[in-house]
Symmetry: C2
Subunit: 209 residues, 2 copies
């Protein structure tokens, strides 16, 4: 019966996590809300409010134990829960993600890739087998992956997302530059829209004139 945590807070959690990992790697044992806020460009007050959405992780008069706090945030984000993912679309972007991105750090095991290109089907990329996209639904029904990663051409995004939802996918990580409208609104979609990001940068280039 938790109170609803705002989107703004959730979106800051991964940043806290990254900064705390950095601190831990640097051998820092404790940190105050003031110092952490400084490092991240937030107020101490906000840092404390954020953490208190999930209960007190700190110690009055002392601060927060870095490795404690890191674990707590990781656990809120469910990074410690084993999850599986499949990727659909093994073009440049799909391969870039398969080769460079660490799914493991977020608790994900990438168990399969799908494409329609005969050249790719049957190959392995970073230890992940590429299957014919025609087998996607069979595979999903058999192995129930948690998340589908969409790195395919955008004209196929909607139908593929619908198929995944039909097979019980639990979330979609969308790299295509469209807004997905799913039938089932219990399936969360996270978007990585390069174009939007570059357009915001384009706008901001002019700001400091």
């Amino acid at each position: 019966m938790e109170k609803k945590v705002s989107q703004a807070v959730i979106k800051r959690l991964p940043r806290y996590h990254a900064h705390l990992e950095e601190l831990k790697a640097a051998g820092v044992m404790k940190i105050s809300s003031k110092d952490l806020g400084n490092k991240m460009g937030l107020t101490a007050s906000q840092v404390r409010q954020d953490f208190n959405c999930f209960g007190g992780f700190g110690q009055q008069g002392y601060g927060y134990r870095v490795s404690n706090l890191l674990d707590s945030i990781g656990s809120i984000l469910k990074l410690d829960v084993a999850k599986t993912a499949v990727i659909i679309g093994v073009g440049n972007l799909g391969q870039a993600i398969m080769n460079n991105f660490s799914f493991v750090k977020a608790g994900f095991d990438l168990i399969a890739a799908f494409d329609s290109d005969k050249e790719l089907i049957g190959r392995e990329i970073s230890g992940v087998r590429v299957y014919d996209v025609a087998e996607l639904e069979d595979f999903c029904r058999r192995y129930s992956p948690d998340v589908g990663v969409l790195t395919l051409p955008k004209q196929f995004a909607h139908e593929t997302a619908a198929k995944l939802c039909g097979c019980g996918i639990k979330g979609i990580w969308n790299f295509t530059n469209i807004d997905l409208h799913l039938e089932i609104d219990t399936v969360p979609v996270e978007n990585v829209h390069f174009a939007e990001s570059l357009m915001v940068l384009s706008y901001r280039l002019g700001e400091n004139k």
Copy 2:
């Protein structure tokens, strides 16, 4: 002497732009704030407030002319201003972006790529020449690119960003999973942090239980 427009509004502009492009492509001539809001999951009120940050684009009793509004938003985002970019790091991700991403749609001309890999230097990828990263500063001083795209390993991100700033770069599009702290705070940084996005998805997977 414009009033300051909030970040929240700016971040919605590219979405308006994308939806309006879709409408235009579908041959829709006019749209009301109500219909556009519906399509995008916003209230009509918010749509009108957003547009009125920049002056009235609509016509009372009629609505907004799609192609008009599209152009106006494009112009606010400076998509119609010619800008140049260079990309630093021609690994999987860099190549994926060079091959698949349309810089042109945001008004950018990608004029050069840089890497340290001798195999890549001298090659052309999607019509863009790859130079030795040792030549980065020379190149920037000569050609004054507007934006630097960071797709290199994160351990080199800070020093490279600093060099770019030293050569007068106007903005940084950062794909490395670190928060950049620049000397010059007039240089905007836009981040595309895959890991943060996947972590938010990880969190949200559990929400609808």
